[in-house]
Structure formats: C-alpha cells, structure tokens
Amino acid sequence: MVFSQTTLENAKAIAENCQGSHRAFCASRCPMHCDVIGYVNLIGEGKTTDAIKKIREALFLPGTLGRICAHPCETVCRRETEFNQPIAIAALKRYAADMADDESLWDISKKPQTGKKIAVIGAGPAGAQAAIDLAKEGHDVAIYEKLDVVGGMMRVGIPEYRLPRNLIDREYTYLTKLGIAINLGVEIGKDMPFNELANNHDAVIVANGAHQGFVPPIKGAETGGITNAADFLKSVSLGDKNLKVGKNVLVVGGGDVAMDCARTALRLGAESVNLVSLERMEELPASKHEQTGSLDEGVVFNLGWGGEEIFSENGSVSGIKLKECTSVFDAEGKFSPSFSENTQEISCDMLIFATGQRVQDVTGGALAQGGGSRYDADKDTLATSVDKVFVAGDCAGATIVVEAMALGRKAAVSVNRFLAGMDLKEDRDLDNEYSCETALDIPLPEDLQDLPRKHTRELDPKARIGSFEECDLGFDDETALQESQRCIKCECKQCMTECIMFNEFTQFPGMMFEAFLKDGKIEPLAVYSCNMCDQCTIVCPEDFKFAALFGDLRKDMVIANNGESPMAGHKAINMHQKLGFSKMFTTRKKGGK
C-alpha cells in the first residue's frame, strides 16, 4: 500500500520525537533501568506483589538492593532536583521485597540448552548477574569463587548491620534454581590456573572485584596495628577469631567505606573511634545517611586533615600526626591536596586506611591492568585483548553494586554475541546497558506540592552499637503507601491518559508510528478509531497533530481501496450520503425578492 509523503513525514516526526519512549529520570539513571515508576506506583496502589514482580524483571536482589543500593536514581528524582526531597526509592524496594518476595514468583524459565560452557570468576553481583543472564540463554554456567561464601563485597565489605547475611544467601538461591554451579573455595590463579579455566570453557567472564586494600605511603606506615578497609571488613564478616580491635581506633578516609569501618569498630568494642579525612563536611564523599549514622553512634570526625607521620610504640601504632588540608582538588578539579603548616596529633592503637581498593590480577598477567588498576577492556563490550575473555564489575570500572550488575549484564550480552558468532558492536543499544541521559522534557504537574520525604524507622543509636543487628527497620505499611504516592510519574503519558483509543492499540504513539514505518502498514481499525477530538494534541508536549495524521492515513487507505473506506461499518455512510444529497432530503430557498 502506498502512503503519501505527508503521511510518512508526519509519522516519522512522531516516531522519532514522541516522548513516550523516553525513560523517566530515575529509570534512565539506574544502570539496570529498573522500572521505578512502575513499582513505586504499584506499592502506592497497595499491590505489593505486583511491585516485587516488576522489580524482579530487572533485579535479582531486591531485598539486598533495597537496603544497600547507592541509589543513583534518587539523585535525579524530580523531587530531588526541585525540592531536595527525593522519593525513597531504595527503601520502597526493600519494603516490597520484605513484604512480598515469594520464591514462587521467581522466573526460573530458561531457553533450551545450548551446550556452551561458560566460566565466571567471582560470586559478587557482577559475576552473579552475568551468570544469570547466560544461564537464561541456555548456556551451562559455572561460577568459581575464592571465598566459602557468595556475595562478594556485599558479603565481606558491606557490614552486616546494613545487610543481613541470610538475605544474601536467600537471594542467591535464585542462581542455583537456574542451574548455575557455584564452586566455592576455588581461587583462580592458585587452586586452578587461569589458562586451564579458559581452555575448558567456551567463554570466561572475569569478575573478581577490587579487594586489595591500599595504604598510602605515609612515613611510619610499616608498623603493626595498621590495616586497610578491605582486609578489616572481610575479617569481621568472615568471623575471623584472631581479629583484635583496638581501644582507640582511627580510620582514614571520607567515603562510605570509611564510615563502615568506623561503625564496625564501634560494634567490636572500640572505646573511641576517630575518623580523619582530607575533605571537609561539605565535600565529604560519604552519603549523608552514613555520616549521620556514624555521628549518632559516636564517631568523632576530624575533617580537613591529612596524615603526615605515623608513630609507633613496641612495633605497633600509637598515634598519627596530621597536617591541615586547605584544598583537596586543584583548579582543574583533579585530586591534588594542598596543606598548611597547622598540625595536630591523635593517639590510637589501631589505624584503618579506607583509601580505596585495587584490582588484584587473577589471570596470571594474561590481562593488562590500566588506570585505577582495572583490567583493560573495550568499554562498550567489555571484551579484552584475550579471545573469549570478558570482564565485569568493579574490576571493569564499576564502583557500586548496581553498576557491577549492569556490567555483568553487558559482559553477558557480549558473550552471547561472541558465542553466536555475531559482531560484538553492531546494532547494539548501549544506552540500554548502562546509566544514560533521558531526553524527557515534560512540565511538572501544575498542582505539584513540595511534600517531605518519609524516613524509615531505625534502631536507637545506643542499642545499635551493641550488636551487628540491622539498624534500618524499613517502612511500615502506612508510610510506604504515603511515600510511594509522592511519586510524580515523570514519563510522558500525556496523550495516553487522555485518549481511550491509543490505549487500545499501543503503549504510546511513537511506538505505533515506529512500527508503521518499519512494517509499512498500520491496522486500519486503529486509524479509524480516532475521534479526531484533538485532546491528545492539547496535552502533547511536542504538539503533534495526531488527528491530522490519522486523517491523512484514512485518505491513503481510501485511495488504496478504490475510493471507499476499508471499514465494513462505513458502508452505510455511502447510503446516508446519497440520501443527504438527494432531492428528497435537501432544499434550497433563496430569500428576498
């Protein structure tokens, strides 16, 4: 069927620019593109089970992420950018998970077995996500994990009082349900050479994280009683009997990891915990929530100081000399601290450096490591210079769990293409594989009010430091309902909320006309179900004239149908029209003389 130029041009404009396909700010920022609006509003409607199903379409760890996700989505929430009161997206996710995550809802369907064997190094979130995606594709997936537990840094970094361990174990049973083999206690590079692993599999995903604590070169740092965040938190998490925590602990670092160390030390019985960071309060990298948590529990902040020299007594640390940091970054925004002559000394018997973790090579040098110690890889595909070897997670540049998962998924997409002999890059929707910008540009609702963010219940700080019990108690039903109802649903559904007809045929007009242009056809019933009332155009931020386009399509269809409407129901119109113009029913009477 032939369509007029006008029809095609207008359809193209809509297909390309309709905002209906633009993701909300939250969902586009989420590297896994979780449908935040979808589940938050289901919670708001009291449909918690539907909400958890929606979350599970994107995330296999809803309870975990609901507790510890660094929630980049909340930083772009319109209630954040307008009022500094973002929706408590993560906490709502936790609520849905705690209330309704029944294992019977888990989707354990898989494609037929392919017979391809894939090895994944590391049972952190990156490795787990890659394994899930590949198992669902029908491949035979085995994870090799050095530790005797699953979860990676979620298990041995993030402290238990933020993330109960039984929850990780429960959510990881999803992997075994999918038939993924998890080989615990196997360290690649030690218990099994990397080459052997690679030779025995059709593809390998390296996702060993960044576990090597980093201690900056400060004078005196070689003495005893000094450790780093990764080692310290891992020992605590694995219940290391030999771990002795000092009476007076000093933590160096200003990020969330430093807060984790400080708060953990308190729980292990430290009498005082000092935290030292180059950054001052306003520039402290740690999240506000963690800062408040630490201060409430009694951590003493010493902000705007850098270590100059470590003192020791009897081969063990006794204190540190600090110099005042006047600025952390240079004019170009690069990390380049400058200091004044002011100094102070703090005594301590344990010193923990929470100043970054590095990637430890597990490939015996097969993969090169570049900036920040990450493995070198193509950032779009995570393919490395070694055939069939891909990287994912922190060792590939992620810094938080949900990013690690997205990179796990990206690596899985590449492996799938690789196994199918496809090009790794061709026609790949990269925006779909990581955080992206949205072109959404819709007005705020006219009657929008600045409603304050609701907070979850928490254990009293005094009670908290007595144990590793979870501090955050989550939302109760009422608060969850109220919080979710604050969501302003930043997506363009303007015409869809006005038009009954569109909802019968599509999710949004852009989709309808994209399909039309692609298939070269459109359902006549859709074209002929438009009331031509223009209500859609009134609310369309792009001012698209849908009625006119349907009118043009009708003309095209009539031409293609020998001058008649293709709709059987319109047959009667011919008769009506004949009568409406016949002598019997018409008259003209000229007035006047």
Binding site: E498, I500, M501, E504, L525, Y528, S529, C530, N531, M532, C533, D534, Q535, I538, A547, F550, G551, L553, R554, K555, D556, M557, V558, G563, E564, S565, M567, G569, H570, A572, I573, H576, Q577, L579, G580, F581, M584, F585, T586, T587, R588, K589, K590, G591, G592, K593
Partner: protein, 255 residues
C-alpha cells in the same frame, strides 16, 4: 447589509425539525431576505478519508449557497462551521455566537427562571477554539433563565469528545461508548445541555439525560422531573422522517 443563508446541517433537522423551523422564523424576523439551505456539507466523507468525494459534495453545497446569492452563512452545526471556515468566499458565523448579538425572541427571555434544573454544559470538541460559540451558549442559557455549570477543567477549549467524532461509532462501537461514558462522568450534574444533536444522541446512548439548546429555547421549560426527548437519531427511520419533515417545514416558512 449582507445576504445571509441559514444552514441547519444534517443532525439537527434529523433530530428536531420544529426547532429548525422556529430558528428560521426568528432569523427571518431579523434578516427578512434570509435564505435557507438544507444539505450535508460532506463532512462524513472527509472524516472517512474520501477526499475526492468530499470535494464533490462540498462543491454541491457551495453551489446552493451561490444560488441563494448569500455572502454570509449562519450554521447550526459545528462540523459545517469547520468545513465552511476553510472556504474564503463566505463569512461563516455560528448561530450560537449570533444569538447574543440578535437576541432571543422576546417572549422567551427569562422563561425558565423557575426551573430547578442545573445543566452541565457540554461544548463540542470540534469548536474547542471558538470562544465566541462557548460564550454564546452560556449567554443563551442565562437569558432563558436556566442555571448551568461547566464540567470542571473539561469545558470550552478543554472539552472532551462526546464519542461520536471521527465516524468511529460504526467501526469501534465499544471504544465510542467508553468515550461517551467518560464524557458523561465529567458532568457535575445529571442533566446536560449540548449544541450538537449528535453529541446529545451519544449521551442518551449511555443513558444520560441531555437536551439540545434549541430544545430549551423553543420547547417547554425543563424541570428536574422532566424526561428528556427521545433519542431520535438512534432510529434511522425516524431520523430520515424528520429530515424530510424539516425540508417540508423549510419550504413552507420560506414560501
């Protein structure tokens, strides 16, 4: 003074021929050399996409207007308003915007002062941009003495379709009915007033009482317990009978 022709359209004559006649009488009192043309403007053909047929049909109407030597057309139908607006040879005026200028028949002014009805005003979506028409309807209701309200946020330029538009009724009756019902739900009161006979038929179809403004102008005063006129347009036989009757009435008044 310009020569005027009144076009009652299709739906109105099919619904209420007496109202057509009464309107002509009123107009003729003011414009003694008024002409009248009863013929379809061709809108249904353009609505289904028959561009060629429409051109042909519309030309037929224009020929009649020419025959009447009219240079201004007064329309009672919103579709006629839109099709004729594009034709530069004539000034097109809606009957509804004209009424405030020429006034109502004196004896009708204030006749419904005692009515206990509050009408919800339904504006036709096809003339959502014609403020003069919206004002004229409200002026007329007020002049008759009726009380009325707008559907909040859904009146005038924001009015929602009655469900009849785009010739969808014979194609997607289910969608059409849902649109009809939704529009009825916009109304704050149980009785609505419209200025398009097709809109009225839509609301009657979903069981909502509705009156055409000419029913109110020329008919008996409506009270809360007055039943609405029948849904004539739902019966093709009656509708065509009326259209024929309207033609005869026109021929009689215009003798």
């Amino acid at each position: 003074m310009s020569r005027k022709a009144f076009l009652p359209g299709c739906a109105l004559p099919s619904y209420n021929p007496q109202a057509v006649e009464a309107t002509i009488r009123h107009l003729k009192n003011i414009y003694p050399d008024l002409s009248v043309v009863q013929k379809c403007c061709g809108k249904p053909t353009i609505a289904v996409g028959q561009a060629e047929k429409f051109a042909e049909r519309f030309a037929g109407l224009v020929e009649d207007i020419k025959y009447c030597e009219a240079d201004e057309v007064i329309v009672a139908c919103q579709s006629c308003m839109k099709t004729l607006k594009g034709c530069e040879d004539y000034k097109t005026t809606s009957l509804w915007e004209l009424l405030p200028l020429i006034g109502l028949p004196k004896e009708l002014v204030g006749k419904a002062r005692d009515s206990d009805v509050v009408f919800s005003v339904h504006d036709s979506c096809s003339v959502r941009d014609y403020t003069g028409i919206h004002n004229g309807i409200r002026w007329t209701l007020a002049a008759l003495g009726y009380k009325f309200v707008d559907p909040p946020g859904r009146a005038r330029d924001m009015a929602r379709c009655c469900g009849f538009g785009g010739m969808i009724v014979p194609v997607s009756p289910d969608i059409a009915q849902r649109v009809m019902r939704r529009r009825v739900d916009d109304f704050p009161t149980s009785k609505s007033v419209v200025y398009c006979a097709a809109c009225r038929s839509s609301f009657m179809t979903v069981g909502a009482d509705s009156w055409h403004i000419l029913d109110l102008l020329f008919g008996d005063v409506v009270y809360e317990n007055t039943p609405p006129p029948a849904n004539v347009l739902a019966s093709p036989l009656k509708a065509w009978g009326n259209r024929h009757k309207s033609k005869r009435l026109i021929n009689t008044v215009m003798k």
